[in-house]
Subunit: 173 residues, 2 copies
């Protein structure tokens, strides 16, 4: 069954191969049954390794709506989001994800998506990029200052983790 | 022991609490012993859920150097990168990661980092954001077109996964 939003995401992904903006990926964001943002992979043409179709579509939708969360929006993407994009989707609090190609399909044509997923599941010491912790005690100063801040914006209050919790608003201590 | 680059990342994170750009996070990128990019979390002030310190520093460094990979660069970040940022770090092929606060520390002050890590390890059906696959056969058309493209840029050729493989260059079929 053809879904018109996925048809558009796939169309974008195919067009992007020919336009040479970047990899063969397209994504659209839908709200109230209408596309409010659509984009493609632009990594190589903009020298931005974060310029995946999903990240760009999320940024575009947020700019358009003037918000930093997309609570009532759905994402249609021509390929399963990589860990970077999935993280962005969670931070944006998108409501539903629809994808077509899989991370394994992307691996087949040379993209690292599956590899990065496997790395994220490993402890630091076993990952390919050497990772080291230092100066935690000093860094906690910023977190303590944040907790004491009277006008912090609670954009990050675990909408998922604590789930019933806090709406987007400026909170007062 | 104080590392001057981490000292700077922490300083940025503390300053960001008071400047109200966003959350208490700072990051710097170092090349040849010099800081080439530094940034802070700007999610709430720019309406961009992807504007984490690491993502912004990576984008800034790539723009400055005119590249889409940061192979000989190190990242110093005041907090363990979230999955979105870690994905960006892998795509940028940064050589070393140094962090101070942990994802658990971030969870303590209300950020979703740990939760998103746990979500990424789950199969789609068990994740909090409903995720559904559709139209894979149609979407594979873009991947096939990519494989047949004579001038594809091999930015994504598994530098990690296949490791010995391909350098950044335009390849010809």
């Amino acid at each position: 069954m053809n879904n018109p939003f996925m048809v558009r995401a796939i169309q974008l992904s195919v067009e992007n191969v020919h336009s040479s903006n970047g990899g063969p990926f397209g994504a659209v964001i839908v709200r109230d049954g209408k596309i409010i943002a659509e984009n493609v992979n632009r990594v190589t043409s903009t020298n931005d390794p974060t310029a995946h179709a999903e990240v760009l579509a999320i940024r575009q939708a947020c700019t358009k709506l003037g918000v930093f969360e997309l609570l009532d929006c759905e994402l249609y993407t021509s390929c399963e989001p990589c860990p970077m994009c999935l993280g962005a989707i969670y931070w944006a609090h998108i409501s539903h994800i629809y994808f077509a190609n899989t991370a394994e399909d992307a691996a087949e044509i040379g993209f690292d998506d599956s590899f990065i997923y496997s790395e994220l599941k490993l402890p630091h010491a076993q990952r390919r990029i050497p990772t080291r912790q230092m100066m935690r005690e000093e860094a906690l100063a910023a977190f303590r200052a944040w907790q004491e801040k009277p006008d912090q914006i609670a954009y990050l209050r675990c909408r998922f983790a604590n789930c019933m919790s806090i709406s987007i608003s400026a909170t007062t201590a």
